[in-house]
């Protein structure tokens, strides 16, 4: 196994996770459950392809993709913050809605039940192994940037306070709602970038192309105990397991089903043995009265 190709592949696989997990960390630190990442990613991916298709520019695609994630994030935010709906319920619904909306509009805009046409995208230099994609580099720095935002800026301080003890934040004049809106919006945009990366790397949207990556990302958030850097390391770990899985497959010695299980089994083993009890932000998922 070539170590360089291993690492490059691991990074490429990790990028969507890194974006989505960073978004998950921000929202959860502010007290909003992030079961929504899958939906944000999927809507981002679709909106990116839509934007790129009609403008011809992948940069417009990035913007429209982020906008797509933002729209879904705002739906989530209004329902859970303004109307105090149960965050888990709405989270599940956001994912269903994203699947439904992308399918419906795939049909409406592209008359297909499964694929969009090919659009412009990033990368393509055959010697760069995908590293000529600006989104890939953005994905690499997103975790440190979010760590900085969360630990070194007033916004981050407010996010942490609001997720831990919203009444305390409110009592000193911090608007809990405003901070949460901002955090959810940010999480929607970040997770959407994960989807945008997938779509523009593929130059195409495919029905449900995120294929459960949002759930892996939320696992990484919990695995990383709500810390951006540790969550990013968890993303890399999952990606490494997946890379291993790809590189081990093909010899028929072990049935592919068992190799397929490796990343998931790894998570469970690690949870049981290594990580142990994870203590979430105290106000996570709590509806304020």
């Amino acid at each position: 196994m070539n170590p360089i190709s291993f690492v490059t592949q691991m990074i490429r696989i990790a990028i969507p996770y890194l974006f989505a997990a960073s978004g998950g960390v921000v929202a959860e630190r502010a007290g909003i459950v992030s079961l929504t990442l899958e939906g944000f990613m999927l809507s981002g991916a679709f909106a990116a392809v839509l934007g790129t298709n009609y403008s011809g520019s992948p940069w417009v695609g990035v913007l429209s993709g982020v906008l797509g994630g933002l729209i879904f994030a705002l739906i989530h935010a209004v329902a859970t913050i303004r109307y105090r709906a149960d965050q888990v319920v709405v989270g599940v619904a956001i994912n269903l809605l994203a699947i439904g909306v992308t399918r419906f509009f795939l049909k409406l805009f592209f008359a297909s039940s499964s694929n969009s046409p090919r659009v412009a995208g990033f990368g393509g230099n055959i010697n760069m192994a995908g590293f000529d994609n600006p989104l890939l580099w953005l994905g690499i720095i997103v975790a440190p940037v979010m760590a900085f935002v969360i630990y070194k800026t007033p916004f981050g301080l407010r996010v942490r306070a609001v997720g831990e003890h919203p009444d305390a934040a409110e009592s000193v004049g911090v608007s809990v709602k405003r901070v949460r809106y901002a955090a959810v919006a940010l999480s929607g945009m970040l997770a959407a970038l994960g989807g945008v990366y997938l779509a523009l790397d593929q130059h195409q949207f495919t029905d449900q192309m995120t294929a459960g990556r949002g759930f892996i990302a939320i696992s990484a958030v919990i695995f990383g105990r709500w810390d951006p850097i540790r969550a990013a390391l968890a993303c890399l770990l999952f990606a490494a397991a997946e890379t291993l899985q790809i590189q081990l497959q093909g010899s028929h010695a072990i049935p592919s089903q068992f190799i397929e299980m490796i990343p998931y089994a790894l998570v469970i083993i690690a949870l049981a043995g290594v990580v142990g009890r994870a203590i979430p932000p105290a106000a996570l998922g709590r509806v304020e009265d």
């Binding site: 306070a161 934040a169 911090v174």
Partner: protein
């Protein structure tokens, strides 16, 4: 004297003037035409029974709630319905009844939250924040290291941070909602010093407390609330605790629940019965010994009181005895049977009953009805073949509601909808209503009004008379002194002293509590 209207003072503009405040939560009218007037530079006490509407009135002042009707004036300016931020900007600072500190953040972070100093536009300037904290500490005498985590602080220290927090925002009008409920006597004295210093500097202070002796000691003026109304405004120098209590409750109350003379020569039970702890060691969350080799016995018919500054191991001791915290070494015996390794349920069966210190977190399922809360822990006895007998559950509830005067007397209300005092009565009713031989009573009257305190004290004394062994832990020194046969003081996980209550006094115990005196633990 019993008139809601405050005397008009023409010369000085009141710091706070609230007039005809109404505030309802659904069917509950928390404030109904309440009026207060607080003069600048005074310490003003706001007293009243549980649920009288004190906290609500102050939340309206602080902009956390908007009144349904009425006017709020601060320094002569009409500020009715303002926001938290406006109130903070105008110099109102509220130290809430429940701590408003983020436990996972540092002292400095909590202080600057909402008013963060920045460098380069976006970056939080921690150094600046820490310097500000140190400066303020020095000015006020409220010393605390800025980089410590709130979760590592003692209650007294957290209280200090709360006051620093409002001062940091430039508050000149301070509202303290039951600040002393969790403080030890030395800490209370320290708080008084700070408050007096602030008053002398010209700040205005509103103090909410249930301890009438404190009111008399520290305040200049008193406003009494009852059932959402302000029923009296008196000069402290012109009144007595008994008078205030009568105003609060609307009838005569005995303030001497415990001060009765201990019956001498009362037979205590056999020495092998009751509760016994032998060289108990309990580890805390950070791997240190929070209980460090404590031994004691509580005989049947005896109340054994434990005093101490909060955070010296009382909570952990009770939890270990109740089976909620593992014991590292040592033994616990109930009526001679070793229960050290037994589960909570098995301890119940062995005769243990437990009034927990935090009724909301431990004592009640807030979403359950009163009736269902009254069978928590004994649900086994209210069911046959796995099915709960709802008739018996209701009968039990009706009986406990009437004998403990739980109000409103409706067994199918949720526990959440009761006031704090009535919630506590539910817990006490349940724990004392079951078969037991040993009772752990932890802070049984915390935050409960005088009428209810009197009642709960009587229940404890009755239980003693019936030969129960009672371990009482309380932050109220006078409560411990009044009820106990013997008292111990906990200091850093050990008993600093054990002595007959008759020989003890607040002064003596106070010295053991702060560690200046160490004695024998016989």
């Amino acid at each position: 004297m019993i008139s809601g209207a405050a005397p008009k003072s023409a010369s000085v503009v009141p710091a706070i003037r609230m007039d005809g405040i109404d505030k309802s939560f659904g069917a509950i009218r928390a404030n109904r035409g309440a009026s207060v007037e607080v003069m600048p530079g005074e310490i003003h006490a706001l007293v009243g029974e549980n649920g009288a509407g004190k906290s609500t009135l102050m939340r309206i002042l602080g902009g956390l709630m908007k009144p349904d009707s009425g006017h709020v004036e601060v320094n002569g300016r009409d500020v009715t319905g303002w926001s938290t931020n406006e109130a903070i900007a105008a110099g109102i600072g509220i130290v809430h009844q429940h701590f408003m500190l983020v436990p996972t953040l540092s002292v400095a972070e909590n202080l600057v939250l909402g008013a963060e100093p920045k460098t380069r536009g976006i970056v939080l300037d921690y150094k600046h924040a820490a310097d500000d904290v140190r400066k303020l500490s020095n000015e006020t005498g409220l010393v605390i290291a800025p980089e410590r985590l709130i979760s590592d602080l003692s209650v007294g220290e957290a209280q200090r941070v709360e006051i620093l927090k409002v001062l940091f925002r430039g508050a000149r009008i301070l509202v303290l909602d039951e600040p002393t409920a969790v403080l030890s006597p030395p800490e209370v004295r320290e708080l008084w010093t700070v408050l007096r210093r602030l008053r002398d500097k010209g700040d205005t202070i509103v103090l909410i407390t249930h301890r009438l002796d404190e009111v008399v000691e520290i305040s200049n003026t008193i406003t009494v609330m009852r059932a959402g109304q302000t029923v009296a405004r008196v000069k402290t120098s012109a009144t007595t605790p008994a008078e205030i209590a009568r105003l609060m409750v609307g009838r005569e109350v005995s303030l001497s629940a415990g001060k009765r003379v201990q019956p001498s020569g009362r037979p205590t039970g056999p020495p092998d019965k009751g509760l016994e702890a032998r060289s108990l060691i309990v580890m805390g969350s950070r791997g240190i010994r929070v209980i460090d080799g404590v031994s004691f016995t509580v005989r049947p018919g005896e109340i054994f009181g434990i005093a101490g500054v909060e955070g010296n191991g009382q909570t952990e001791l009770i939890e270990a005895l109740a089976g909620l915290r593992p014991v590292f070494a040592g033994e616990i015996l109930i009526d001679g049977a070793d229960i050290t390794r037994r589960s909570v349920a098995q301890r119940h069966d062995a005769g243990l009953s437990h009034i927990p210190e935090d009724r909301q977190r431990r004592g009640l399922i807030l979403e359950y009805t009163v009736a269902n809360n009254l069978i928590l822990g004994v649900q086994k006895h209210f069911s046959s073949r796995g099915i709960i007998d709802s008739t018996r559950v209701m009968e039990n509830a009706m009986q406990e509601i009437s004998s403990f005067d739980i109000r409103p007397p409706n067994p199918v209300l949720t526990a959440r909808s009761l006031s704090g005092g009535n919630q506590q009565k539910v817990v006490v009713a349940r724990e004392m209503g079951r078969e037991f031989s040993v009772l752990l009573a932890s802070q049984p009257t915390r935050g409960v009004d005088v009428g209810a305190i009197e009642f709960i004290h009587q229940q404890l004394l009755d239980a003693r008379a019936q030969g129960k062994a009672i371990l009482l832990v309380s932050a109220e020194l006078n409560e411990v002194l009044a009820l106990s046969d013997r008292v111990a003081v906990m200091y850093r996980g050990k008993f600093a002293v054990v002595m007959p209550a008759a020989e003890a006094s607040e002064e003596v115990l106070g010295e053991y509590m702060i560690g200046t005196k160490k004695g024998n633990t016989a």
